[in-house]
């Protein structure tokens, strides 16, 4: 019965979204107060229905009701409680329901919080959001329903994919989806603004807080995914330029461009068209990510549905969103206004450069990701685009971004601002840049990495100067905004330095070790002290005790797990983190050696300063949150937010 109630609530949310679309449209067109109220109430009730449906799905997982196909396919009665709950979004149908929950949550938030001073634009946006909900809930209800039943009920579930049975990956999808779906608010507001013929400033003001929030969540989601890949996949990488990773990176880049562009548009009306275009593209690219993950058109370790029919649905949705949005943009962008203009060394100019570079990276990533698909359309199959392409094309643009990044905060809006003082100040940034480059040179970095390190040092000096220069800003909102900018920019620097360190090539050794034998990498000696059984609730495991000596003695406990329900073996690496980097140990298969000893394959590597990547991501997220708080305080003062 629970499954049937859940299915009905999804259907109800679908119907309420249709009402939200129609009532919101009527409210915006005729200024009807009852219609506005109905649109808002539809949004709230659709949210309630979707949330309860999602809660019921979790209950089905907790009950291990294998009469529900999705539960049978993604759970097992012996799965730990936390992962039974996480399994609710561990597969295609459940994650699509989560996506829809977030979409209707954004719809309700738009109805409740957005644009109190411009009801017409708000109602139009609520209506557009209702349309988005209708598309995705339709897809959920008719083609990906998580409440579908099985007539022949299996005795036991198949279990969640073991590599997804991990705390980081349980949190990663919801965080990522907040980001993806959060961008729908920017899309709806931009489209609503174009329909209503609002100026660029109004649209930018309306969509900025939503984009900032979504971009922050997207950063957190991507960082969690990279962290998971680092310690779970067992070979120590954190970014593989996998199509699905790229699918999240592209909206991130475009959203980063959008939040900068929207600042310029809000301040001086410049880049109005570009801001609206980015808002449309950001959510369209998010939808494209969903298409790539779920259609099976591209091979990826992350893809979790290989269903061309569902892919066609999402392709249809994507075509409606991007096609409709861009057509509208082409027809109505003239009404956005031209802005006040700006000088060559004004803040807008540098934001423009920032946007061009971010868009260029997004473009090269998009081309590299879709290239195999394009070629297969011409009958050339088996082509894959690897890290070499992405590193070669994206790195120069990203390095250039670092060069320009520190200038903008010191430049005035509209007017030329590159004076002698700023020239002297920027001359001071050269020294940290040289020192960072020297550091990269000393740790054997490649020429590109040395350059990136030098630019990162330069940028870091600029960020510190920015903090020093603007320390006297008054008011909580300004403080939060400044803190947000400083943290986010410092985060970019930390990530750049982390990537440089990672690119230096980590020392790595793989050997088959019997008990008592040693393996060494520079600075460390590791001894396999023994292997014992360390079974968990739903897996069997061998756990090695590895004694590490590097001046002091410590131990690491890597595991090799066999998940019986899924018939899959995984490696649970052991990591010893330090300032210099991570000692990374993975335990492999046991095998009989020629000398008759049973030996375990042990893989040891040292990943230099990988913590910088985590720190960078954390700083960016904190920066985004701080800026969001500053924005909310500003908005409240201006009466735009509650």
């Amino acid at each position: 019965m629970i499954a049937e109630i859940g299915r009905f609530l999804v259907a109800l949310a679908f119907a309420l979204s249709a009402l939200q679309l129609l009532a919101g449209w009527r409210a915006a067109s005729a200024g009807s107060t009852p219609a506005m109220q109905i649109a808002a109430r539809s949004a709230y009730t659709a949210l309630a229905a979707a949330v309860i449906a999602f809660g019921l799905l979790i209950i089905l997982f907790l009950q291990s009701d294998f009469s529900v196909a999705y539960v049978a396919g993604h759970s097992h009665v012996d799965k730990p409680l936390f992962y039974k709950i996480a399994a609710a979004w561990g597969g295609h149908e459940g994650s699509m329901l989560l996506w829809c929950v977030m979409l209707v949550a954004i719809g309700a938030a738009l109805a409740r919080f957005a644009l109190k001073q411009d009801e017409q634009l708000k109602n139009r946006a609520v209506s557009i959001q209702g349309g988005l909900q209708l598309l995705f809930l339709g897809f959920l209800a008719f083609a990906s329903n998580p409440f579908d039943r099985l007539l022949d009920v299996p005795l036991q579930g198949a279990g969640l994919n073991p590599i997804l049975q991990d705390p980081a990956l349980a949190i990663h999808p919801p965080t990522l989806y907040i980001g993806y779906v959060g961008l729908s608010a920017a899309f709806s507001l931009a489209v609503a603004g174009l329909i209503e013929g609002r100026g660029g400033r109004a649209i930018a003001t309306a969509l900025r807080p939503w984009s900032l929030f979504a971009w922050t969540a997207l950063t957190g989601g991507i960082a969690l995914g990279a962290w998971w890949a680092y310690y779970e996949l067992g070979w120590g990488g954190w970014w593989f330029w996998d199509p699905v990773e790229n699918a999240s990176f592209m909206p991130w880049l475009i959203a980063a461009a959008l939040i900068h562009s929207a600042i310029a548009t809000e301040k001086s009306g410049n880049f109005a068209g570009w801001t609206a275009f980015l808002a449309i593209m950001a959510f369209s690219l998010s939808t494209m990510g969903a298409f790539l993950v779920r259609s099976g058109v591209l091979t990826s370790v992350h893809a979790f549905a290989l269903d061309p029919e569902r892919g066609l649905w999402i392709l249809g949705i994507m075509t409606i969103l991007a096609g409709g949005g861009l057509t509208l943009f082409a027809l109505r962008s003239g009404k956005l206004g031209n802005g006040d203009g700006f000088a060559l060394t004004s803040r807008e100019a540098f934001i423009g450069v920032n946007n061009l570079l971010l868009a260029a990276v997004a473009g090269t990533v998009l081309f590299g990701t879709l290239y195999p698909l394009i070629m297969s359309a011409f009958g050339v199959s088996g082509i894959s685009v690897g890290a070499a392409y992405f590193n070669a094309t994206a790195t120069p643009f990203l390095a250039a971004l670092l060069i320009f990044l520190p200038f903008a905060p010191f430049l005035p809006w509209k007017k030329d601002g590159f004076n002698r003082r700023l020239a002297l100040r920027s001359a001071l940034w050269i020294l940290p840049g040289v020192l960072a480059g020297l550091w990269a040179f000393l740790i054997d970095a490649s020429p590109v990495a040395i350059a990136a390190a030098a630019f990162a040092g330069w940028t870091l000096a600029g960020v510190v100067t920015d903090l020093w220069h603007h320390r006297v800003l008054q008011g909580a909102a300004a403080c939060f905004s400044l803190t947000g900018r400083i943290l986010a920019h410092a985060g970019v620097v930390a990530m750049a330095l982390g990537a440089v360190a990672d690119s230096t090539g980590r020392p790595e050794t793989v050997r088959a070790l019997a008990e008592g034998e040693q393996i060494g990498i520079p600075g460390f000696t590791l001894t396999l002290d023994g292997v014992r059984r360390a079974d968990g609730r739903n897996y069997l495991a061998d756990e090695a005790r590895i004694v590490v000596e590097n001046g002091r003695v410590s131990e690491l406990l890597p595991q090799r797990r066999f998940y019986t329900a899924a018939d899959t073996t995984t490696r649970e690496v052991a990591i010893q983190s330090g300032f210099g980097g991570d000692l990374y140990v993975a335990l492999g298969e046991p095998r009989a050696r020629d000398d008759g000893e049973i030996a375990y394959e042990v893989r040891v590597s040292f990943n230099p300063m990988v913590w910088l990547l985590g720190l960078g991501a954390l700083l960016i997220v904190l920066g985004g949150l701080s800026a969001s708080i500053g924005r909310a305080l500003n908005g409240r003062r201006a009466g735009m937010m509650p």
Binding site: M1, I2, A3, E4, I5, R7, F8, L9, V10, A11, L12, F14, A15, L16, A18, L19, T33, P34, Q37, I38, R41, S42, Y44, T45, A48, A49, L60, Q63, S64, D65, F66, S67, V68, V77, D78, A141, F142, N145, D148, R149, L151, V153, L155, Q156, R533, D535, L540, F562, T564
Partner: protein, 311 residues
């Protein structure tokens, strides 16, 4: 089904009613009911596109309770495994259930899980039969080889219960697989002598021992090398082997296994008379070894039955 219909209708009217409330008392009067009906209609049609209101939910606890109430013999093997797992979810300190689960899993060729179940059982209670089953599962996992882990399990099982036949049989097999036919022969013949005349194991193990000891001892590498040469003649090789065995038996140097091999190869070549003669020679030679005589008696009975059939 009726309860479900009431719940769905209530949900529809509460949610949709809340949404259309702003126009409930407004003109035109038909507007609110129309929107309400439209909402419920769209939701109902969307639901019915794939809904199965008649299908009951099957929470695992209910399914487990039904399995527990059923006669285990009426259940499919997979359901029996699940029933045992259900019992262990209730109480995982029952060594007998763990061992039984291990046997069921081993029979389903899920060796890793079976080994885990046997080990869980042994942690709770050291039992010779479970140890023996564990050893056999290790063997199954290693294509029939008696590995060091399997040998340790069999030795421990023999220490706990010397009367259990399987550990000795497999320890003999371990010696046989490592090329020590003499030790294997001794272990097996001692085992057969120890077994009850009327018990099921004596005949079963005797037949197995004959099959193993009568296998021709072949140096695979040498045979492969010889087969590669142009003048390789398999019939000549067999004749040479028979010749060697006959010489050894005639000289009195031959062991029990040599006799069995000669009987087997002569029977395969259709030399029934020669086979019977070798059998008689073996009887004379090993008359004092009860285990050997058991195998030879079985062999004689089988040969006579074959002769009877061919006549």
């Amino acid at each position: 089904m009726i309860a479900l219909a009431i719940i769905l209708a209530a949900a529809a009217f509460v949610f949709a009613g809340f949404a259309v409330w702003p126009v409930a008392r407004k003109q035109p009067r038909w507007l609110a009911p129309s929107i309400l009906a439209g909402l419920v209609g769209v939701a109902g049609v969307t639901y019915l596109a794939g809904g199965q209101p008649q299908a009951p939910g099957v929470p695992y606890q209910h399914a487990a309770a039904e399995r527990m109430a059923a006669n285990p013999d009426d259940l499919e093997p997979v359901a029996q495994v699940e029933r045992l797992r259900d019992m262990l979810r209730e109480d995982d300190t029952n060594a007998v259930v763990w061992a039984q689960l291990g046997r069921m899993l081993a029979r389903s060729e899920r060796e890793l899980e079976a080994i885990n179940a046997f080990q869980r059982s042994l942690r709770l209670e050291l039992n010779a039969r479970t140890l023996s089953d564990l050893g056999q599962t290790f063997m199954n996992l290693n294509d029939g080889r008696v590995t060091d882990e399997a040998r340790a399990a069999f030795e421990e099982a023999r220490r706990i219960d010397p009367d259990l036949p399987e550990p000795d049989f497999f320890l003999g097999l371990q010696a046989f697989q490592s090329g020590d036919v003499e030790t294997a022969e001794t272990i097996w013949l001692d085992l057969i002598e120890r077994l009850n005349d009327q018990g099921p194991y004596r005949i079963l193990i005797s037949e197995q021992v004959f099959q193993l000891l009568s296998q021709p001892q072949v140096n695979t590498e040498a045979v492969e090398a010889a087969a590669a040469s142009e003048d390789f003649d398999p019939r000549q090789r067999i004749a040479d082997m028979v010749q060697r065995l006959e010489t050894r038996v005639a000289s009195g140097d031959a062991g029990f296994a040599d006799h069995l091999r000669l009987i087997r190869v002569r029977e395969m070549l259709g030399d029934d008379e020669g086979g019977m003669a070798t059998l008689q020679a073996a009887r004379d030679r090993f008359a004092e070894r009860e285990g050997a005589m058991t195998i030879l008696d079985l062999l004689a009975a089988a040969l006579q039955a074959d002769e009877g059939q061919s006549e």
